[in-house]
């Protein structure tokens, strides 16, 4: 009867619901990462709770860099800093590999959340960049389909605008850092508040491409030097 009461409760759509822990085999990585699921979803697809990003399918090197930075306090978000504070490198690699290999379906992109002028500015920044201020296009590094690049550049498709705004803003004000040379710091410092809002609005509306894996590292020359790309290799 109790179970019935629990299952009768209204549940949001399956793709991005608030996930409750569940797993098949106790001795598995799946059971070990239950500590992630209420925020990031069972397969890393994200949850309906506004802020938490999709982590599935991001390059393992990117996910590892973030986990290590949260553990060491160089990226600050207290709930994450606390959760991974006492986890060794090899295990963080395993967790990163696990979510990098997941490929759950994407949720629907956010509805229109900005006017046409703003979205056009966002699209221009993402696809072309701004040569006047020296901002390269997002797609130059994050891939034509915005699905990221091996080994350590994250996909942007499937992220919500509030998460993108928060990250770009914290780079601008110096709260978020990547491994030096920190290319995202150079880029974010050249964006205005309006630019950040515009590019986040446009990115959050994009449909994922059919092939959503990150691109290969040796196909593109990057316009700016990024320390994360070199450091993530094993």
């Amino acid at each position: 009867m109790l179970l019935a009461a629990a299952t009768c409760m209204p549940r949001p759509a399956a793709a991005q619901s608030d996930a409750t822990p569940s797993f098949k085999t106790l001795d598995s990585i799946d059971a070990r990462v239950q500590g992630c699921v209420t925020c990031h979803g069972h397969s890393g697809e994200g949850t309906a709770s506004g802020y938490f990003p999709r982590i599935a399918g991001k390059p393992s090197g990117y996910l590892y860099n973030q986990l290590a930075a949260f553990r060491d306090g160089t990226r600050k978000y207290p709930p994450m800093n606390y959760l991974v504070a006492t986890l060794p490198d090899a295990y963080l690699r395993e967790i990163a590999d696990h979510f990098a290999q997941e490929a759950p379906p994407f949720g629907s992109p956010q509805g229109a959340n900005a006017g046409a002028t703003v979205l056009l500015r966002g699209k221009t920044l993402a696809m072309v960049g701004d040569s006047a201020t020296g901002v390269p296009a997002c797609v130059a590094c994050h891939g034509a389909g915005l699905t990221g690049m091996q080994p350590a550049i994250p996909g942007l498709v499937g992220l919500r605008s509030n998460y993108i705004v928060a990250q770009l803003t914290s780079w601008r004000v110096g709260n978020r850092h990547a491994i030096a040379p920190d290319c995202m710091r150079r880029i974010a410092s050249r964006l205005t508040d309006a630019d950040v809002g515009a590019v986040a609005a446009w990115l959050s509306q994009q449909q994922p491409p059919k092939k959503s894996e990150p691109g290969s590292a040796d196909l593109e020359r990057m316009p700016l030097a990024c320390g994360s790309q070199g450091q993530a290799e094993r």
Binding site: Q34, P79, L87, A90
Partner: protein, 434 residues
Amino acid sequence: MSLVRRHPVLASFALSLLVLIGIGAAVLHFEHPGRLPARPPGAEVNATTQTITRGEYLARAGDCVACHSVPNGREFAGGREMPTPFGSLFAPNITPDDDTGIGRWNADDFYRMMHTGVSRDGSLLYPAMPFASYTRITRADSDALFGYLQSVTPVSQQNRPHELKFPFNDRDLLIGWRTLYFREGTYQPDPHESAQWNRGAYLVQGLGHCAMCHSAINALGGSSESAQFEGGMIPNQNWYAPSLTSNREAGLGDWPVQEIADLLQTGASHRATTYGPMAEVVYDSLQYVTDEDALAMAVYLKALPQHEPSAPPNPQARLVEPSALALGRTTYVAQCAMCHGDDGKGQAPAYPPLAGNRSITMRTPVNPIRVVLNGGYAPGTYKNPRPYGMPPFSHILSDDEVAAVVTYVRTAWGNAGTPVTAAEANDLRKLLPE
């Protein structure tokens, strides 16, 4: 040369072969370091090496690195902020740098500091440095620690001055503190107890400085000897360090010794799991102690006198409002039962049991509320390198639901805890996890 000129193909082949052999040897060397002799057979480790190695082990057991390093910074270079109710202290540089560290100290200076809490320049140390525990350390162990610290890479990094509020910034006040709370003296073995018990007592009371958290800190920042190991809130961290002398909390009177040793050294056992500050102690320090030392500590802890011999016999479920109990049960079934089981028995050591788990039922509900709100991972250790973790529920459950589910686990299955209010859950929700 002539070979190269006459048989260029053969020469390049020979060269390639040499390179390949070289690579092969290198791969063999790095892949199988254990198969190559580490040092010529017959060579013995000299006395200095032995001392330094022992000093390194003792430094681990004393967890020096936790306070004397900043995360991701140079080991032992200091600078870590220690917030206290009296202001912030900054741990000093203890690398052997001549100008900013302890490079110009000698073993006598070091022993005086460890044993009496007086620094090389004669100033009194603040008791954030656990000299009230370290005073128990033998001279030989102090010398080994000093030898190890002198052997690490010197780091030039100026000490950051403490930022203490008036009047605590006056070190003369420490004379009063020392009179009240400091008893100088090396550990004296108890001839009526076993060597194992004495070794455990030496580690727990001395290097382990367990009393720093597991004794209540009073308004003067001290803890009386009579209240040693009786538990207390850890100042500024909002975690409760349970009493080690009460069977209602973390008293270990009825635990098998091996389970205690596992909890200390591995971070998770069949009876309980460490989270928060204790997980950090296991991660930084206790996972490195030998099996013998972990067992010795367990033997001593198990034998601590128990001030409250048994848990209150009656389950407290009758104290809970029926509606709160129903909400707690519904929430438990939906969110918790998958891992901890309908019967609360968990799947130890992966998912700890909640039934009969005293960290759930102890008087202060701070720790179970925090774990529901923020989740937690057991520490990743040599013996448990891939720990299991619990997710945060702060964004899913309301204060009422948190209070109801914590009340449920504190009172279900015969557990003898007391109900929790939504206000208590809300107070802890407002604090960021550390």
